[in-house]
Amino acid sequence: MGIRGSNIILFLGLALLYGQPSLAQDGEVEFNMALSKDQLGINERLRVDFNMNRDGDNFEPPSFEGFKVVMGPSQSVSSSWINGKRSFSKSYSYVLMPTARGNFTIGQASIEIGGEIYKTLPKEVVVSEAVDRPNGQTTVDDVVGDNLHLVAELSNSDPFLNEAVTVVYKLYVGPNVSVTNYRSLDNPRYTNFWSQDIPVGRHEVENGTYQGKPYRFVVLKRVVLYPQKSGRLELEPLSLEVFVDVPTDQRDFFGRTIYTQTTKTVSAGKRTLAVKPLPEAGKPANFGGAVGEFDFSVSTSKQQLNASESLQATVEVKGKGNLKLFQLPEPEIPSALEVYDPEYRENIQTLFSGMEGRIANTYTIVPSYRGKYPIPSISFSYFNPRTESYVTLESEQIDIEVLEGPLSSDAVVAGSTPNRSVVPLGQQFHFIKLKPDLRPVESTPFFGSRTFYLMLLVPLMLIPILIFFFKKREAIASDELGNKIKRANRLAKKYLSTAKRELGNKEAFYVALEKGLHNYLKAKLKIATSEFSKEKIRDILTEKGVDQQDRDLFIELLTNCEMARYSPFSEVQMQEDYERGSETISKLDKQL
C-alpha cells in the first residue's frame, strides 16, 4: 500500500464518469492490448485486457483463434483527478483458455473514438504443454522470490593479506512488494578475518538496478574485513528472514489490490576472496605486519630536565590500515635510564574504507643521574597495497639531557634493578685537556728491546770488571819499589821531559836539565832559584831538612850542567845524568 499511497487516486462510479465525458477530450488517444503472459501451459488461462484512455463506441474484440472465452467481456472504467488534471481509462477484459498447443496470434481489436477507428497490434502467444500448477495464479512465494534478492558486494575480491575489504549486504526489493521488517537468522562468522561491523543507522531506500532491471535497495549491513590468511577464503553467507507485503490478485470493493503479509528467508550467496600473500621480495627485516598507509613518529615531552623528574616518550603510528593488528616498534632507551611499561592508547575509527586513526605507546622515563642519553632512531615498516611496495620510516634521534642530578657514586649499590647499569659519575663532565703531550704513535716497547737487556745486564757485568780493577789497585799499592820508580818517572816526565827530548844534543840537553831542576825547586819551594848560587841552594835545602847525600847529589848535578857546556860529555854520561836527575827529584820530593 505504501508504494501507491503517495498517489491520490480517486475512484469514481460509472455514473459520475458518464456525466462529464467532455473533460477527457484532450491529449493523444491510446488503445492497446495487454496479455497477462505471452507463454502459458495448455492448462492455464490467459487474460487479455484492451485499454483505452478515452471512451469509445463499437468495440469489437478479435476472434481469439485457438482460445475459448471463459469469461468476459467485463468492462471497467476509472477516472481520476490529479492536481487538477483528469485522467480516464476504460478497459475490456477477457479470460481465455487455450484449446490447443502451438503458436497463436491474438488478432486486432477495434474501437471507434471520436469518429475514428483505432486498432490494437496483434500479439503472439505460445501455448506449451501442461504445467504443474495450472491455475494461472502465481503464489505469494513466487512473487517474493522474484522480487527479493540479498547480495553481498565486495570492494575488492583479491586483496593482500591484512588489506581492508569492505562487504556490503544489500537487499534488492522489486517494485511489486514492500518490505516491512527483517530479522537476521545467521550472522556470518568471519573465520580467518579480523572483522569490524560498521553499523547502518537508518535504512535509506535507494534506486538501483539488479540484473538489468530497476530495483529499490536497502543497505542492511556493512563489514570491514582484514584477511589474516592468504589463499582462497570463503565468506559465510548472511541469512535473513524478511517480512514482506505481497499483492494478491484479489481486490477489495474499491478495486484496490489486496496485500498479504508473508515471510521469506533470503541469503547472500557464498563469496570467495583470493587473498594474496605479501611479497617476500624487499621485505624489511623489522616488518611487523602493518599494511596500509602510515606516518610514524617518536617524540618526547621534553628534552632537558633534572634527574628524578619524568618525561614521556611517545611512539606513534597514524594513518589508514590495520592499525589494531600490528605491534608498535619499541624504542631503544639507554640502559642507564629507568623506563616503565608503556601505556597503550588508540584512537581508531573504522570507516567504510577501513581503520583510520592513530595508535601510540607512551613510555614514562625517569632519569636518575646526570648526563646525556641519546634515544637512537628506530624504524617502522609497512606494506603499501596501493603501490604494492614496502615503506620504511625512520624516526629522528632524540637527545635527552639531564642537567642536574645526584652524584651516583653510591647509586650503584642502590641500583637494584638488574636491567640497569649505571656507571658511577663524577660531579662534572670534564673539559678537554689543554696540554697536548704529543709523542709518536709508532713506539717500540721498551720491555724486551735490546736497550732494555743492555741496561739490565751491563751493570751486572760491571761488578766483575770493577772488582778486577780494585784488586789490581790493591796489588799496585802493595808493590813499593815499583811505586818508587813510578813516582820518579812521573816527576821526571813533568820536569825533565824537555831534557829527555834533547838527549844526545849536549848543549841543549844540559840547559834543559838545569832549567828542569830549577823549575822543580821553584814549584816545590815557591822560590825562583835560577839566580841563586849553589851555596845558597844548599843552605835552603838544608833548611828544609833534606838528606846530606841527596843535597850533594842535587848540587853535583847542577855543577855538571854548568861544566858540561865547556867540556866534552859523551852520550852515555848524558843518559846517566838524566837518570840521576829523575832519581834525585823523586828523592827530594819525599823530603820536601
Binding site: E332, P334, L425, H430, P459, F470
Partner: protein, 254 residues
C-alpha cells in the same frame, strides 16, 4: 745545486716544524671545542693523528668531542684509548662513565674472585714498560750496593749494603716477572668497541646460524679469535659469539 739545497733545507724545515705544527693544531682545536664547533675540533685532532703523533690528552679530547656530538661508540672508543696510554687517569675515567651511561646495553659484570682481582690490580699497577724500567733501576741499585759492600770499610756499612743490595735484587726480579705477566695480559686482552647501531651476535661465524644475542653501539667486547671477516667476542657477563669485524673497532689498533 742551489735548488737542491733549498729543497733539502725546506724538507728539513718541515720535519723540524712537524711538532710545533701539531701543537698549533691542538690549541686551535681547543678553541673550536670551547666555541662548540666540535666537528672542526675533530678534524684538527684527526690531522694530528695523521701526522703520526698521539697522546692520552688527544684521545681524551677526541672522546669529549664525540660525546658532545652524541656519538656513543666513538666517544667510548677514544676514552678507552686514552686510558690505555694513561691508565687510571681520574678525568678520563669520569668522562668515560658519562659516555657509558649513553649505552643501550646493560651487561652484567661477571663476578671475580678476590684473589684474581688483587692479582690483576697488582699486575696492572704499571705497564710492562714501566715495570721494565723499575727492574733496570733496581738492578742498578743492587750493583751499587754490591760495590758498596766491597769498598766500604766498616762492618756496619758493609752489612747495610749487603742487605739493601739483596733486597733490591729480589725486587728487581719481581719487577721482571710482573713486566712479563703484564705483557702477557695485554697481549691476550684485545678489547674492542661496537660501532654499529645494532649487531646481531650469532653462534657460528656465518650468516645462517642462530642469533644468540644483540648488542648495541658503545658496548665493550673482548676479541678472542678471528676467522676471515668474523671475530669471536666475549662480553662482560661471559657470553661469547661471533660477529662481523666491520661492526667493531679494536682499541689497541693505533
Amino acid at each position: 745545486m742551489s735548488i737542491k739545497k733549498v729543497i733539502l733545507a725546506l724538507g728539513l724545515l718541515t720535519v723540524s716544524l712537524g711538532y710545533p705544527q701539531n701543537e698549533a693544531l691542538f690549541s686551535e682545536a681547543t678553541e673550536f671545542y670551547n666555541k662548540g664547533e666540535y666537528t672542526k675540533a675533530l678534524e684538527n685532532y684527526g690531522k694530528i693523528l695523521e701526522n703520526g703523533q698521539h697522546s692520552a690528552a688527544l684521545y681524551f679530547n677526541l672522546g669529549n668531542c664525540h660525546y658532545k656530538l652524541g656519538a656513543i661508540g666513538p666517544s667510548i672508543y677514544y676514552y678507552e684509548k686514552a686510558l690505555l696510554l694513561s691508565p687510571g687517569d681520574p678525568e678520563i675515567l669520569n668522562n668515560l662513565a658519562y659516555a657509558e651511561n649513553m649505552r643501550l646495553d646493560a651487561v652484567q659484570q661477571m663476578p671475580q674472585s678476590e684473589l684474581a682481582a688483587l692479582y690483576k690490580k697488582v699486575v696492572s699497577l704499571f705497564t710492562s714498560d714501566q715495570w721494565a724500567y723499575l727492574a733496570v733501576g733496581l738492578v742498578l741499585l743492587f750493583v751499587m750496593a754490591y760495590m758498596g759492600y766491597y769498598f766500604l770499610r766498616t762492618a756496619n756499612h758493609k752489612r747495610m749494603a749487603l742487605v739493601g743490595g739483596l733486597f733490591a735484587l729480589g725486587l728487581g726480579i719481581l719487577c721482571l716477572v710482573m713486566a712479563r705477566l703484564q705483557l702477557q695480559q695485554t697481549k691476550n686482552d684485545n678489547p674492542a668497541i661496537i660501532f654499529s647501531k645494532q649487531v646481531k651476535v650469532s653462534s657460528e661465524p656465518n650468516t645462517n646460524s642462530d642469533v644468540i644475542f644483540t648488542l648495541h653501539e658503545g658496548t665493550k667486547v673482548k676479541v678472542i679469535e678471528e676467522l676471515g671477516a668474523w671475530e669471536k667476542i666475549r662480553i662482560a657477563d661471559g657470553q661469547t659469539g661471533w660477529l662481523l669485524a666491520e661492526n667493531i673497532k679494536k682499541i689497541k689498533e693505533f
